[in-house]
């Protein structure tokens, strides 16, 4: 079988709505307000309640917003939007034909583990040798669809905190973004956090952490603000320690309803934080600096959610260049696509990079591919498969996995303390103190567990 290489280019996330829902509205209430009465008097009907954040989702006609304005108890209201939250990045599938020589692995190491350079960068194995593999930690992965019976994910998640918010069904399948049914973004991120150490495929950063798989986006990578907010609340209500969100949407501040949608996500993230969950979010792949931006993406005009939420920590990406040719190369170059800026980046993690100037084929751990592919991050896909991809989406679950390792050693803790452990252990790369690319540093599991 010929190997198939799918390459796609990252797209900007400053997107106009895929399909603005004129009939679904987000209504934010003042604290303790009776929103049912206010919504009904404006001609709307409550479809769903988000009581933890004083919000409701409303079905209404075109006149609802005008009628709702000024109603007692309503702080803000806006039409919900569906936007693209996951870019279509560089990615490449692993097929059996790519494996020229079955690798000889020592016991306890899954056969594809030696493709996972990210674990070396963050010293995950050193944490495992200390006896900490995420046991006792609960990590919610909010993403698109999942394959629940994948050999590296089955048995790793808790069904009681695994759910679909979109109505599409939790299973990943072929879609407008992926006709192969392999490139399941949610599987890749969940696998990086907690794929099983079972002699099959890959190993997650925290292979004994309990995963809560929450589908908040359609398989194509688009979704509504309602579903994302509801997913955050759902995860928070299920006693998770960490919420890992490899997704991000940008809105122009001047865009109609932007302020309300931002408040919705901020309220949800704040709710999760108060419930004890540290929310870890990807910074985005636009290659933009929030400190000195170019084009139209200025801080004055652009909101990036949920990474702009005050209680969320925002993750940039790092990666090697030419790891397929030489495994001693630096793993910590700021990725060419990562968003950055002292004002927005908190920490960095392995997200991989794409360097087309690296030519030729390489063989690593018995797998032969174009050399540049090995600089990507390797993890689980759907259809029982695995694939490589790059992005701050890949960096974020590495950081979430390290957070789970910290919890497995020190026990459940307030998110402020968990954030402090991540910061304390991070390697202060780049400019000292707070670097625009690395933030407080690239996470280091060994150092965080040695505090």
């Amino acid at each position: 079988m010929r190997s198939v290489l799918k390459i796609a280019f990252a797209t900007s996330l400053v997107a106009s709505p895929v399909a603005a829902s004129a009939e679904t509205f987000i209504v934010l209430g003042n604290s303790g307000a009776n929103l049912d009465a206010a919504v009904a008097s404006a001609g709307g009907q409550v479809k769903k309640r988000l009581p933890g954040i004083d919000a409701v989702i409303v079905a209404g006609g075109s006149s609802f917003l005008a009628a709702a304005k000024g109603k007692s108890g309503i702080a803000a209201a806006a039409a919900d939007k569906k936007i693209r939250w996951i870019p279509k990045p560089e990615r490449a599938a692993l097929r059996e034909a790519d494996i020229t020589n079955p690798p000889n692995n020592p016991p306890g190491i899954d056969p594809r583990f030696n493709l996972q350079w990210g674990h070396t960068a963050i010293k995950a194995v050193d944490a495992w040798k200390m006896g900490y593999e995420g046991q006792g930690a609960r990590v919610a992965v909010l993403d698109g669809g999942f394959q629940l019976n994948h050999p590296d994910i089955a048995g790793r998640y808790d069904p009681s905190c695994t759910a679909d918010m979109t109505g599409e069904g939790i299973a990943y399948g072929p879609n407008s973004d992926d006709d192969t049914g392999i490139f399941a973004h949610g599987m890749h991120t969940a696998g990086t956090v907690g794929a099983a150490r079972n002699g099959i495929g890959t190993i997650g950063v925290a292979p004994k952490a309990t995963l809560c798989l929450v589908k908040v986006l359609f398989n194509s990578g688009s979704g509504s603000f309602e579903d994302v907010a509801e997913g955050i609340i759902y995860a928070a209500d299920h006693n998770v320690d960490i919420i890992s969100m490899s997704l991000g949407g940008s809105l122009q501040k001047s865009e109609e309803g932007a302020s309300t949608l931002r408040q919705l996500i901020d309220r949800a993230v704040s709710y999760a934080y108060k419930k004890g969950a540290l929310v870890i979010v990807s910074a985005g792949n636009d290659g933009e600096s929030a400190d000195s931006p170019k084009n139209t993406g200025t801080p004055a005009n652009l909101i990036h959610l949920p990474s702009d939420s005050p209680q969320a920590i925002s993750i940039s990406a790092t990666g090697p260049r030419g790891w397929g040719k030489d495994q001693s190369v630096s793993l910590d170059n700021p990725a060419s696509y990562t968003n950055y800026g002292r004002s927005v980046i908190n920490l960095a993690g392995p997200g991989g990079d794409y360097t087309p100037s690296i030519t030729g084929d390489c063989t690593v751990a018995g797998v032969t591919r174009p050399c540049y592919v090995f600089d990507f991050v390797f993890s689980a896909g759907a259809a029982n498969s695995y694939y490589w991809s790059i992005g701050t989406s890949m960096a974020t679950p590495h950081v979430s996995g390290v957070a789970a390792l910290i919890v497995s050693k020190y026990g459940k803790m307030q998110p402020a303390k968990l954030r402090a452990y991540l910061n304390a252990g991070a390697d202060d790369l780049g400019a000292s103190a707070h670097d625009p690319y690395f933030g407080n540093g690239r996470v280091n599991a060994l150092r965080s567990l040695s505090k």
Partner: protein
């Protein structure tokens, strides 16, 4: 002859008394118009127009039982809210001491005046971190701190009122 000399003295005394009375009346009237009274000194606003290089200072005092409003404290920059001062041990900067002008800032907080914050949010509180501190703390609901008190190091979560 004596009687003639007494008449001018009496007139002089009367004139002085009249002047004093007029001055008293004018003084009372002025006091009423300005509305200030030395008995309510704590409510006096002192406004210093300042010099070119010194900004105007407005001082007002709350009464003893007026509470601090959460929104007032939460929006104030962190370093100013806690009035952080560099702390040295044997000539080396080892943190910043908490010296708020209003002790009510520390109500409900694990910190006391005089505590020295040595690590904040997992980062050593040195000059470099101090320069970024207001920006880093902006928007946070709370932060994990290590602090020294009477030679003993403790750790706790410091609520930031957001």
């Amino acid at each position: 002859m004596t009687i003639a000399l007494q008449r001018p003295r009496a007139a002089l005394i009367g004139a002085v008394a009249a002047l004093l009375l007029v001055a008293l009346v004018i003084g009372l009237a002025t006091s009423r118009m300005s509305g200030s009274s030395s008995r309510t000194a704590e409510s006096v606003k002192v406004v210093n127009a300042g010099t070119v290089s010194v900004p105007p200072v407005q001082v007002s005092q709350r009464t003893a039982d007026s509470p601090l409003r959460e929104e007032e404290t939460a929006s104030e920059p962190f370093t100013r809210r806690y009035n952080l001062r560099p702390h040295y041990t044997r000539g080396t900067l080892d943190g910043y001491s908490v010296e708020p002008a209003d002790p009510r800032i520390l109500a409900g907080s694990p910190l006391r005046a005089g505590d020295v914050i040595t690590v904040i949010d997992g980062i050593k509180l040195d000059e470099s971190k101090f320069r970024r501190l207001d920006e880093d703390m902006s928007g946070l609901a709370d932060v994990f701190v290590s602090y020294s008190r009477d030679g003993k190091v403790s750790e706790d979560v410091l609520p930031l009122g957001r």
